[in-house]
């Protein structure tokens, strides 16, 4: 069941990241994301390669 897995495990299985390349700070930060954030990351995974550099809405 997915709800027993950590965020890192869920995102690794969805192909959003490679858990073997993460250091401890990454793991801790990712595991603090909410389930809602993780579900969104999993759902947009297929679009990720095309989105780098796009506006994020907050502008300095």
């Amino acid at each position: 069941m997915s709800d027993t897995k950590t965020n890192v495990e869920q995102l690794h299985e969805a192909g959003a990241l490679d858990k073997d390349r993460l250091h401890e700070d990454h793991v801790n930060a990712i595991n603090q994301l909410s389930q809602e954030e993780v579900d969104h990351l999993k759902s947009i995974n297929k679009k990720i390669q095309n989105q780098s550099g796009q506006s994020v809405g907050i502008i300095l």
């Binding site: 995102l11 959003a16 990241l17 250091h23 700070d25 990454h26 930060a29 994301l33 954030e37 969104h40 990351l41 947009i44 995974n45 679009k47 990720i48 390669q49 989105q51 780098s52 550099g53 796009q54 506006s55 994020v56 809405g57 907050i58 502008i59 300095l60």
Partner: protein
Amino acid sequence: MIGKTNKGITHFERLQANLSFLSARAADINNQFTQLATHPAVCIEHIFINQMVARATVPLMEEVINCANTIDNDPVCAPLIKYMEKHIAEETDHDQWYVNDLEKLGVSREEIFSRIPPSNVSALVGSQYYLIRHHHPIAFLGYIACLEVNHPTVEYVESLIEKSGLPAEGFSTILEHAVIDSQHGQDIINTINSLPLTEKHFRAIEMSAFQTYRYVALVMEDVCRAAPKNT
């Protein structure tokens, strides 16, 4: 080679690669915002929130300088201070520009400064104060990199104006940033790549960028909630 990691990529390329999954989430939420820009209330809320963030930009950079000046024997501090001094001059009064825009959209100064910022705005900006003061001021470069590299284009802002039906004068600050952030974005990339970063410095920048992308996405989700309930 200066600016290259031991894997042959620049510090910024490494940062971008490690956080691509989170920047994609922030961009995806921004796409949702763009679709909702037909609702004037959503666009006004977007500018309102940007004013709240912008009012903290110069004070954050001043804090970076104050904290960097207290650190001895760290070769990143002198170039960090130099960059901040230049960038403070570039960012000064941008929060006031947003106030002027909001007034043109019917939001008074009193409304702007009496509203308590949403918790996600406090988290976005407040987490930077913590990292700067209690970890290392170099972290702030992660915040700037996220917000100035991923800037809107002129065409994008013009599409927001058209969709919203609001007066173009209310978007002058965002439009100006679509122009100037192209250079500011390259400046922060060059700065990060030119610094003699240790692994500790890099991770501070990386975790700052992680939090920035995370909270920006949450802030923009809040902006989207300004749309009428039946949309």
